[in-house]
Amino acid sequence: MISKKRNVATLVVKVLAVLLAFPTLCWGGVEPHVTFKVEDGWIALTLRKQGQPIADADLRIIDERGGAFASGQTGVSGESTFPMPPGKSFLVEVKIGERISDPIRIYQKGAEVEPSRVLLSFGLKPCCRNVYAKQSAEGSTTNDSIQLDDTSSPWIFVFAQLLLASAAVGVWLVLFRHDARNSRSMENDDSRSDERSA
């Protein structure tokens, strides 16, 4: 009995968790974000996802000329520090597991850097509308509008109609001949009866 109640409670908690997570998933907040802060000429980078630090993420800093400036990993608190690279801007690449983020360009602005917070992106996917268009072309059902296949040709309809017309003409000819034959046979019958009566 107790375990049953516990199962129900677990289920309720799971459902609530999903419901709470849904809006977050919708606005893309599910991706990690990076915070940059300048401290004594060094840059402190913090990597977090939904408030939780991400440890052991690989970092690569590329200077303005495109050369590798620094590399390393985030610590347990999701933090890492590196000296300010020379030049007006530099690139930061973050690798979490097998996913490599799109490079982030950071600009020096006086004693600060901007942008100071960046939501990571990992190769942006196109609008799902494209996926729907492909699905509808493949015959799947879709919630979106169905694109007209512009390759469809009026000649298919013409061909179908021609077939129907040929069939109609064929029927007409058969009936016409049948009618003509009947007329001829009636004519013959008439002439025979004329001869008999004569």
Partner: protein, 256 residues
Amino acid sequence: MHQKSPSNDDRSEPSSASMFITPLVLTVIAVAGSFLVYYQFRANATKGGANSRDIAQEARDDLTKRNFKPLSEPMEAILKDPSYESIPTQSHPALLQSASPLNLKDTEGKSWDLEAARANGPVVLVFYYGYHCNHCVSQLFALDKDLEKFRELNAQVVAVSADPPELTLERYKKYGPFHFPVLSDSGNKLAEAYGCYTPSPKAGEDGNLLHGTFIIDRDGRIVWTNRGDEPFIENRTLLREIARIEGRLPASPPTK
């Protein structure tokens, strides 16, 4: 004496001309009919699923699904709320750089120029797929609901898609207008310049379009951006970012 009826002669000896004319007439009628049927079918299909659907209702349902709620509290409360963490900008090659020039026609055929517009305040520029895609247009419904809040910060909202102005006007007649300019970007040229459209390498095939939201400051710089496969409906974040660049944010939002 039995006499042959002349009508029997007419029936049994049809003219050879009618043998050719009748099939010919039937064929011509069939061909003409087939073209009519085809073009009627095509016209119905082009109007699309769009005419048989209520896109506005689908967009509103999409917003409900995404838990969107119009902002009802005063601006001060929106900007001060310490429990809310703004969504950071994404990286973008043009972030903190000058925005590409924008001069497109709105639904009334008037030119809308970014340079002229940003003199009055920041601009929220939204790229959406078009008014046939329910979840794409849902962002426009969300912005329209909070438009007064954006106006309170002197910000202007403008939406861009490849839809021709006539199509947008048609949708306005059916569902009501948006209260901000909706511009026509034929061929997605502007979307491409903002990194929201990648043409297909194969001729005649649709390219890839991303949902895109950009905040452009009075100096014409892109200061915040979000792109991806979903529309961005967190208007609170947009308002706070606008307030920040306008120096109206009371205190920097807490960062975790």
